[in-house]
Point group: C2
Chain length 667, copies 2
């Protein structure tokens, strides 16, 4: 990269492409101060800002020093730029402690596309919109025009919007083949609406902005993940079949597992989220947030786990970093003083929906280790092979005192990473990396290394555009652009509210897609009794048996993709343009993806379809179920339930494997 600086003019270019520029007419940096109002209601945040001042900071002075260029932005902020061939880092230092709002503009081109910013569920290409980056609930409905969203807003302030995410990150990838990372965990809002510039708003002066470029997208992701960190490989056993979500105690859970296994379903694990007991709220059945096995519901669980292991099946549980007020571990945490406090010294209790919990202060190393110990003792210690490492988004920001001494407005977005790290260390320190898998919906910078598997959070049990099946595709793709290439979702979705119930169709459209992702896992949903459950349905069990069969056969192929994610940061589910960068159409595709290098999946995400429109980039494609050959372009293909549009590259080294799948499961 090249730096040009003269007087008040500055330019950063990459092989001639302008990335940053500043002049008196075109300011690059604005700074000022503002006062925010933050309200949290059960993980849903309402954030309002009053910007008192926002001033363009012209470059007053520039000089070279120790191989770096020092820029004086308006006498307020110092920028120290170091650039090498394809990477530039600007380190900022604020000279004015009043500054708590910072904006930086990047040069943009009209046809440019932007991806990443963590997990984005509604839109993969971020261009044309702005994205507040703040971890929280993702919302129920997420579309102000739908009845479910409206009711959720009115009754629970929970409707959400297109940008709500549990995993926000101040990192994006441009189609101009660079990634940018802002080193900050403050509230941010990245605005990609202007045709001429991207404007990144950050509620502090960030430590640095890093821009790195590459000649190809795979190379770019490799560099990005070298910097951000890469996920460990998935345990081999996840490829054995379904992780079956069941609950209701040993008898019911293991009974259903046995039932579906004898029905031919390939079973990798049994996931009992209520291993810790449960409590009933108006939202549905919730869990007892006290992270040890429930002696009544799951009597003698360690022995049951040993039995499962003998049959080659894993057992998974559930943990999150909050502890309910009436639980055993809460009492222990209270005595040790490990919860976050209010300024008056009392413990801060968070309402999680009709029950209050303490917030384990993960910035207190002793509390962190204590909680790690809870996972080690009560989960890993009894042989548990994985868990949903839920939440991480609910750090309140008002009147909370943390051991780090930092404001909660700064720690809030860091919390998911701390929570991931806590799980990671528990697993690593017990020698279980690559054996245990925990899956998280919350994330932040640094989570890449510490999170063994991304999970897309709570979708509605439907085909809706902003909260249904299709959203987990964009989610996987945007995670993949942010270094989180192992992604999966609740088969059939989770949230059933206001009369919205899961049908067999949406369940199996979701399941057939999941067969072409790294992990298949079902969830009974928040209202299990109202929603379709495949295990209650003979035909459903047969269908699931077939899909897990396909999933198992794909194992060698997907294993390689999983390894590529670990070694090169190339995600398992890939945006089409990563491998077809010359094809403009691929840059706006968010409902199709490549699984590894050689499979293209175009999941059916609407109701009542028997055919599906598929776009194929320039290659020789074989339709997985019929063997019919297709070339570049738009095609209408048959898409009966159980036969999602999937294609493989004719010249794939796995062509034999794919043919075998067709032979076994084809149309």
């Amino acid at each position: 990269m090249e730096i040009f600086a003269k007087g008040s003019t500055f330019r950063l270019t990459d092989h001639g492409k302008v990335l940053l520029e500043a002049s008196d007419e075109k300011p690059m940096i604005f700074a000022g101060h503002g006062t925010e109002q933050v309200e949290m209601y059960r993980g849903n945040f309402k954030i309002e800002d009053r910007v008192e001042e926002r001033v363009a900071l012209p470059i007053l002075h520039s000089e070279e020093k120790d191989g770096a260029l020092i820029l004086d932005f308006g006498g307020q902020i110092e920028g120290r730029i170091e650039a090498d061939n394809d990477c530039s880092v600007i380190r900022f230092r604020s000279r004015n402690p009043e500054i708590n709002r910072f904006w930086i503009r990047l040069a943009a081109e009209p046809g440019e596309h932007v991806y990443g910013c963590g997990e984005q569920l509604s839109y993969f290409d971020l261009r044309g919109r702005h994205f507040p980056l703040w971890t929280g609930e993702t919302g129920v409905g997420r579309d102000k025009t739908t009845y479910v969203t409206w009711r959720s807003d009115v009754e629970n302030r929970a409707g959400g919007d297109y940008y709500n995410t549990s995993f926000p990150e101040t990192t994006f990838v441009s189609s101009r083949k660079y990634y940018l990372h802002a080193e900050t965990t403050a509230y941010a809002d990245f605005d990609f609406r202007s045709p001429e510039y991207h404007e990144l708003q950050i509620w502090e002066v960030p430590a640095s902005i890093r821009i790195e470029s590459a000649d190809s997208f795979p190379e770019l992701l490799k560099k990005e993940t070298a910097f951000l960190g890469r996920q460990p490989e998935l345990p081999e056993w996840t490829r054995h079949g379904l992780i079956l979500g069941v609950q209701g105690g040993s008898e019911r859970s293991f009974g259903i597992a046995e039932k579906v296994r004898s029905g031919g379903v390939g079973l990798a694990g049994v996931w009992c989220q209520d291993w810790c007991g449960k409590r009933v709220t108006t939202f549905g059945k919730r869990l007892q947030w006290d992270w040890h096995y429930h002696p009544q519901m799951y009597g003698d669980l360690p022995e049951r786990i040993r039995e499962l292991h003998r049959e080659g099946i894993r057992f998974l549980g559930y943990v999150n970093p909050y502890l309910v007020k009436d639980g055993m571990l809460f009492r222990e945490g209270m005595e040790k003083g490990y919860f976050a406090r209010k300024s008056d010294g009392s413990f801060y209790l968070v309402d999680f929906g009709e029950f209050d919990c303490g917030v384990v202060d993960l910035t207190n190393p002793e509390a962190f280790d204590w909680f790690k110990g809870i996972i080690e003792t009560y989960s890993i210690g009894i042989g548990i092979d994985g868990w949903m490492a839920d939440f991480g988004e609910y750090l309140p920001t008002d009147d909370i005192v943390l051991a780090s001494g930092k404001p909660a407005m700064i720690e809030h977005n860091r919390w998911p990473m701390l929570w991931a790290k806590c799980n990671y260390e528990a697993v690593k320190e017990t020698g279980n990396l690559g054996k245990i898998v925990y899956f998280m919906r919350a994330g932040g910078t640094g989570s890449q290394k510490y999170n063994t598997l991304m999970w897309a959070g709570d979708q509605s049990v439907d085909f809706s555009r902003h909260d249904g099946l299709c959203t987990v595709i964009a989610a996987a793709l945007s995670c993949g652009m942010t270094g989180m290439g192992l992604h999966h979702s609740d088969i059939g979705g989770y949230t059933s509210l206001f009369g919205n119930v899961r049908t067999k169709e949406v369940f199996f459209r979701w399941a057939e897609m999941a067969a072409f992702t790294p992990v298949m896992r079902t969830h009974e949903g928040n209202r299990p009794d109202d929603c379709y459950q495949f295990y209650d349905d003979e035909d459903g069990i047969r269908r699931m048996a077939r899909l897990t069969g396909i999933f198992r056969m794909l194992s060698p192929y997907v294993t390689e993709a999983v390894r590529e994610n670990h070694e090169k940061g190339l995600p398992v589910q890939r945006a089409l343009f990563l491998h077809y960068e010359g094809d403009e159409r691929c840059y706006t595709e968010q409902f199709e993806y490549l699984l590894g290098r050689d499979l293209l999946a175009a999941p059916v995400w609407k109701e009542g379809r028997k055919e599906w429109d598929v776009y194929l980039p320039d290659d020789e494609w074989i339709h997985l179920w019929t063997g019919r050959e297709y070339g570049k372009g738009n095609n209408v293909v048959g898409a009966e339930l159980g036969f999602p549009p999937v294609f493989y590259r004719k010249r794939s080294k796995y062509a034999d494997l794919f043919e075998k799948i067709r032979g076994t499961y084809g149309a």
Copy 2:
């Protein structure tokens, strides 16, 4: 008022109370520039702003010159202040043409209340909220938690919010006994949320800010209206009884008028909004926007009007400043070139809901006179005694060229005043002031003088908090604080959508309130067939006969209040604190009002009530219907349909009249 200026410090005080202050720590003025995005859909505006810069402007220099104090705000804006005993005016001059955003802060006190800003339907006391000031549709539902609002938003972008108003004005009254007026018609947003200051945002540097104080609220309103202008007196005939809203052609309209009159209803006038013909849209029956009488529907209308006049009844029509594309007058306007144009020279057509109209360019003196002539010829010329002077809010802002040469962003908020003036001149120049009444929902600075009667716009036909009966009370009170003291509304409301239909109860709660306002007028609503119409109901006609009887008996009393409005700017419907300024409780009351000096009305605005909670300030009050005496405090009083809680002052000089009303119509 006293001015103090030294170095960068400035203070404006009124008998020691700080009104304005500036110092290096407490800036008073901020300026900058921004870029707005304005979308209009059928009068509903979506306005988004991107503020590029906002800078506090410290006082760099101050000097006295020609009896004025000149302040230099940051070298960007000059402020020239002149103050006398109780009035200060700051005239601003921008030295930087880039400035298109301006903020000024006023000193505020925690317990202070603020009123006015034109017509505000949801909240009378503006403190604690901000109020965008931009004329537009007021919204259907106006409450994001209601089904009607949600559906209106989804289907028509029309749900609205608490601040939407057809009559915004950059004028407010503080409980600290001053009024402030900002001389501007640019988009503004007055923010009363801070406990320490009010911040007024204006999208230009305003010509001036005027602050005037008084020792009492009646005195303050007198001064305010001396400055803003005062409404003419209402014609005496409006006191004769109901203005009956009917439509459907001569036969139906005059037939219904005759029916209700023979049923004992006091009739002041017959209002046929479809005198010009009609067109059917999915919203309901709309009018033919071509402002002459429809020869088929209202054959021989001039003669029918003469007949009505012989019987002492007036006839009212309807006009608005747009002309439909397929009408006669549109063709004439096109030929003369009197419509606003696009930058490419073509005429700008506005979608008013399934039909397109030309926008008469009221900034073109010839077009203005032409349209005045249309009113004179086709309305006044055939003997019409009044009309709804509808709309005025729909001046689009994108790509529109006006004769004034000014941007539509500046002319938009001025349009309602121009439209009022057009009506005023037509009436005045034909010698009909005080004989003709037109009623308007749109307003702006200057409308006070030119509008003969305010009408509250289109409410929902229900008891809802933000779009029902109760909202017209706050509307009347806030109009009264902005110099518009003659106010009334559609009895029974107007908008019936999404299954929301008018009941007999809401109609008569509205009618019984209207009997205690300056004008009683019914509207059949947008879906007449679905909604309750009193004329179809014998009991309804009886009830209306009684209410018009009461209204007529009140005439001498109300006539005096109407005169006070004209002469002193003291509104006919008055906030309680205007006369009970020592009673803190009165400052937050928005559902009760004084009618003139001696009547207190507490309309029932909820469904199914037989009793009503009433607050009475310190006085001797007699319950109008029972003669029972009450003192200061909270009281529960009987409130059967037809007997709204109304009280009169025992020592009123009209006590005999009120007793007579009780004798005739009491319980």
